[in-house]
Symmetry: C2
Subunit: 802 residues, 2 copies
């Protein structure tokens, strides 16, 4: 029996998209200002489009190449269906669409925020946060729409919309993994490319414009200025959006995969009001309701007084955020209570099957919500303006750039302590509560309010841009003051957003990791086996090298920009006098090309290494797929552990340096003396910030995608390394171990695969039955059955019982 | 039957120590110069002694405390013998003795090298390398003497000098682990304390002396100058010596433990010409012969021409080094061929027992020798003067300190790629060749020439000091030119020495890790179990936080030094005029105290975390020792993987920055312009070097000890978590799995422990027999037997057979 619940997330997604459309038209209806404001904003919009065009051209090639590879896999591996290619292409397309949409609205909202700031602060917040809301709901809506829609299609295609078996559902979910892989691949390009782009444009514009030509920052005569402003959108809006789109999809997918194995642990089928797939639908339902609560949350973000300061704005954001989180927690209670069996059987390592009450799953989801918030708070402590660690960096600036850099590095490094402890506690406790399904649902609950998180994240760069436009258009000082308040709050939310992103990526990766182990049917990942340990080392090294490549790329891309700006200054007549128009698009294209070129190597590293390990394993161990699967698992664990550490280290060090530098704007007390911008200490702090820029905007945030993509690739490769066959092997071993006193055991497991074709009511089915008896070679028999649908089904049942 | 071979390493150790004594008296007989030279040298010598005194006072307290804790463990855990405390104290004492000896000779050799440099370069090399040789042979000789001596004593005490069983030998080796633990604990203090000391004194002396008082570097009026010079010895000589002493002992121990399990895999006993313990004696024999070959190697290090340049000196060192390595390789062939059975049975995971020819062990040892050299070469490539990565950092210095720092960080990060690949390949291939015994013997072969490595390492700082003394004593320019050549070569060997140290530490840790798993008798470490995975994360975080603490400590300790120097300048009359004598000892003590105080927290972190994990595990899982052992194993793996990465990253980044800065001394070509010291680019490079200093001299090298000590603590805790009981459990499972068709299995394992006392020929023995039958509670019976030695032995044999 099919249930209405499967369509609920779809409905929620449509509500989200409808609200987004409504909000979008409201934002676009706002006054976009006049003259110079509009002109600058148009340049940024054009630049962003130029970037998207160049990016999509390159990504299209990548998608085609990857699709061919995936199609190849689906021909070789019987359990991988060709539909995975379709899912992959759609995943890539949806991710690109979400990025496109978000960036377009952001580049339209910036000037409207400036204009609104001419009237009042509450109005400016309303407009900028409105743009953020559009972005957030667009990403979340498309994610839920795509994932749920595809699931429904595949569920009907493979299983006729009715629960049959875990094996069949595994094929559905494996195909669905293609959607997630597509989304995450695009995210890799968007995040890394965007990160390189924004820093290359920033540095390039500064070096030639400010230093060589002596024109101020954000001067429209500088051809790279627009690229610089585009960069903010490319990196902070589109990059973050693609990242969270990928996390969102991957989290829900991983939880669905683990839900499928809960059903398997319960005997292969359950009777519930949801067509027997309650544990699989639950994560989608939570995601769907999360959209609804995010909408409610966004509605609460408002201030009334024009005299409001940062604290009030932050409070408004916090209220909206916490309301959506609390509503999600409440919804989790009811959804879990309703959709899960009161008690479930879950298999725990070494402890066999255990009875788990559904409330324990709820507690796990609460832990997820708590840890997401706690890690954000830790991030804020280590990177926020006026906090102890940041003030310590400020003090160290007085003895030069060297001590400032050491202090910043040490702060980032120490910040891994509470983060990892929180994280380890979350893994341990959610697993203890409800196995890896508990871990996955913790991640799902955390990610449920993604729309709200993104709205809060995106409003920052929008306000930043708005301030830039106000400055360039020489608007009255109070306009800039208002946008500055928003921008300042945006800096804080950017840092905590990064904390949220890495926390969610880490939990998602773990859930994917668990799904991978269950998919491949291995007994676990034993790092005492030397090849597995070797791969753990290799995996641990990848995030470090990836970060280094990204950092070096920023340097190289910035140099390309420098040469282009120099060329334009020389070749375009009247550019310095303001009569010749700089070719902004050229700079944008140069920066785009450099960014995309430079991210090839990190991309190859990410995608190539898991494949190389499988090939190497096949070369050495031929058919010992179990060992190869463990090696790949060791690699995944290495990437995840090291990736989380380097993400936290780089993000927090970068954030701390940034705010240490910003502290000088209001003045700081060093050795009893007030010290301001322009002092030697400030110059030292600027050096630290320069080091921190690629840390926090390029390599650090890329770690999220690196670990998720690595685990996703593992999941897609999983069927090559054993898949279903191995699953039944594990069952056998458990069976044998359960026999008390070790009596002679006769263990038989059967695998039945049916290939049914229906031609005008005449059904023809090829039934392949593989019988595995312990310690004997498996026997495979194939029979062809023809007749009406009912006849064929009856005969198949007969064959199965033989 | 006992074999002479057990005494061979002892003989080698005595030969090494005798040659050391001979060399030492030769060095001390050399002319120590006159007047000012002697005065300065005496200050450094006194300062070094002051440091040692303060250090040993504190360490004595630590040793007492740790001994009490160990004694407590030995009372609670039946398989841990109280003698472990004695072994621990001796290990600590020997390590301290080796450090003391090395530092004394280094501080005596420096001035003699200066004096020798007045005559010729070959003579200067002879003296400085002679000092290094004394240090190297002292460390290696004491290590082999202590370890072998203790092994012989324990072997006779517990087993009467005759092979009885793997279980008995395990008790011997577990007690011997105390020696290694003692050595490594002292190494932790020496390395971290020394690292903080040297950088604190360096920075402190510069900040007050050069910047505030305006007196030149190394000016004897600066009270911190001597501390600065002492620091070179404390960090580079004593720290490195203690580090390698610890590695040496731990490596040989781990290989012995794994050798014991080879015998177990072969049925519990073997018949060979070495009393049936050939595989256990082999690593000691290799270590012994390594001393001999190191002596030969050191004899070959000489140059003949006074006009020699760096290349010739480096060549002389290389010849000595390679000869000792090749001789070790040849000796390995004959020793392995002689001491191991032609084919051995080793159990491999999932593949059961396999026949392994002894030649495969030899190939593993060759891989160890190769990888040690290769990792040193990689280090040289990333940090050497004039290499591509270092020149790239030089180029980036032209755009400021920020880009210089980014380039240095990226270089250190990228250098993890070849290092980890080499390392992973070594683990994989040596394991494939001969299991974890192969991994351990690879490490043993690599460490065999420790004496030679240390001689090469120690001659660098000696020459550095010699140059300083020449400068301060205003000797003719050619003296300084000669010592500069030696110093420059010393910089290269210091970097490659660090590569060697981390490679050996990593392999040693792996061998210890393998010994731990075998000790605890767990089936492996399955990171798919959530608590184990959580601990992998926590372990990965520890090296990062440890490094941050060490870096912050340098800053704090430097500040203490600044205050003390300021105080002396103010309070001691005539100090600036050269009539008042500065209290060098005070500065040394301040620096020492600060260093030792500051290293408490990293020390607690290192020692406390493994214990905390076991306590937490006991709290949650009560008697599920297997799971707790796996959790601790996951932690150890996390520390090792992350520790290796951070060591390589920090050492190589620091080395690269250092040489990038040094490149400016001879001048570098930047954008077509020759750039020298004092330029803006040089200033940027100095900033990079400041950041790199704590990286390469404090936190980076500490990683070695962190990972070794963590694994050693695990090994000592191992008996609490199951030990022999679990070992027989594993045997049972194997037994059961071997029974075809899963017949009902009757598996009985007995554990017999005998407590014999001999009073004037009358022997009294208490025999405890524990019988474990599968699925039943173990039964323990105790009987007392009295009579003559022969009667008692006969009765015991009777009881055993029951």
């Amino acid at each position: 029996m099919e249930s209405f619940m499967i369509y609920v997330p779809l409905v929620m997604a449509f509500i989200g998209l409808a609200f987004m459309a409504f909000k979008r038209s409201w934002v676009l209806k706002q006054d976009a200002g006049d003259g110079k404001m509009k002109e600058i904003s148009d340049y940024i919009y054009e630049g962003a489009l130029a970037f998207l065009k160049a990016e999509y051209r390159l990504l299209a090639i990548f998608v085609v190449g990857a699709s061919i590879a995936l199609a190849g896999i689906s021909f070789v591996v019987p359990t991988t269906h060709i539909l995975i290619v379709v899912a992959f292409v759609f995943g890539a397309f949806f991710s690109a669409l979400a990025g496109n949409m978000g960036m377009k609205i952001a580049t339209k909202t910036n000037v409207r925020t400036t204009q609104a700031a001419r009237t009042s602060l509450p109005q400016a917040l309303k407009v900028s946060f409105g743009g953020g809301t559009v972005m957030g709901l667009g990403v979340a809506g498309l994610a839920v729409l795509g994932l749920t829609g595809f699931f429904i299609i595949l569920f009907h295609y493979f299983m006729g919309g009715v629960w049959t078996s875990t094996e069949q559902m595994t094929i559905v979910l494996e195909t669905l993994a293609g959607f997630s892989l597509g989304a995450e691949s695009i995210a890799l390009f968007a995040r890394v490319g965007g990160g390189i782009y924004t820093k290359a444009a920033d540095v390039g514009a500064d070096l030639v414009g400010k230093v060589e030509a002596g024109i101020p920052e954000d001067d429209p005569r500088n051809p790279a200025t627009i690229a610089d402003n585009v960069g903010d959108n490319v990196g902070d809006v589109a990059g973050m959006g693609a990242d969270l789109f990928g996390s969102y999809v991957a989290t829900v997918l991983a939880a669905m995969v683990l839900g499928n194995y809960v059903i398997k642990d319960m005997g292969g089928s359950i009777a519930d009001a949801f067509g027997g797939i309650g544990p699989i639908l639950l994560p989608m339902a939570i995601a769907g309701f999360g959209i609804l609560f995010s909408i409610i949350g966004t509605m609460l973000v408002k201030i009334s007084s024009d005299d409001a300061k940062e604290a009030q704005v932050q409070k408004a954001l916090n209220i909206g955020n916490w309301v959506s989180i609390v509503l999600t927690a409440i919804a989790c209670y009811f959804l879990i209570d309703m959709m899960l069996p009161e008690t479930m059987k879950m298999s725990f390592f070494g402890e066999g099957l255990q009875e788990i009450s559904s409330m324990r799953v709820f507690y796990a989801s609460l832990i997820g919500l708590f840890v997401g918030g706690a890690i954000s708070s830790v991030t804020e402590y280590y990177t926020g303006l006026g906090t102890k660690p940041v003030l310590a960096i400020v003090q160290k600036s007085s003895t030069g750039a060297g001590t400032n850099v050491i202090a910043g590095l040490a702060t980032g490094m120490i910040s891994t302590f509470p983060t990892v402890i929180l994280f380890a506690a979350a893994i341990w406790s959610t697993y203890a509560l409800a196995g890896f399904y508990g871990v996955a649902l913790a991640a799902s609950a955390m990610m449920a309010t993604t729309a709200m998180q993104l709205a809060i994240d995106a409003f920052g760069p929008i306000s930043d841009n708005a301030g830039g436009i106000a400055e360039m258009s020489e608007l009255p000082k109070e306009v800039r003051t208002r946008t500055d308040i928003l921008d300042s709050v945006g800096n804080t939310t950017a840092a905590t957003g990064k904390g949220f992103a890495i926390a969610s990526a880490a939990l998602t990766s773990l859930a994917l990791f668990a799904a991978y182990v269950t998919f491949t049917g291995i007994d676990g990942i034993n790092i005492f086996k030397a090849p597995v340990l070797a791969m753990l080392f290799v995996g641990g090294m990848i995030p470090v090298v990836f970060s280094a490549l990204a950092m070096n790329s920023v340097g190289k891309a910035a140099m390309d920009m420098v040469y282009e700006v120099r060329r334009q200054f020389k070749e375009i007549p009247g550019i310095m006098e303001g009569t010749g128009k700089p070719e902004y698009g050229k700079c944008v294209e140069i920066s785009t090309k450099a960014a995309l070129r430079e991210m090839m190597l990190p991309g190859i590293l990410t995608i190539g290494f898991p494949i190389a390990i499988v090939l190497l394993g096949k070369l050495v161990y031929a058919d010992n797929n179990q060992l190869i699967a463990e090696m790949l698992g060791g690699y995944m664990a290495g990437v995840t552990v090291s990736g989380v550490l380097w993400a936290v280290f780089q993000n927090n060090a970068g954030g701390a340096w940034d705010n240490a530098k910003k502290s000088f704007e209001a003045g700081v007390l060093i050795n009893g003396e007030m010290t301001y911008k322009g002092s030697d200490a400030h110059k030292a702090a600027v050096t630290g910030d320069t080091v921190g820029d690629p840390f926090k905007d390029t390599s650090g945030p890329s770690m999220n995608i690196l670990i998720k993509l690595t685990c996703l690739i593992g999941l897609v490769i999983a069927p090559i390394l054993g898949g279903h066959d191995a699953v039944s092997k594990t069952e056998e071993i458990e069976l044998i171990q359960m026999i008390d006193g070790l009596q002679p055991a006769q263990s038989v497991s059967k695998e039945v695969s049916v290939d049914k074709t229906n031609t005008d009511g005449k059904v023809k089915a090829i039934v392949t039955i593989t019988t595995v008896t312990n310690d004997e070679a498996p026997v495979t028999t194939t029979e062809t059955v023809e007749g009406t649908e009912a006849e064929v089904d009856a005969k198949i049942e007969e064959l199965k019982k033989k």
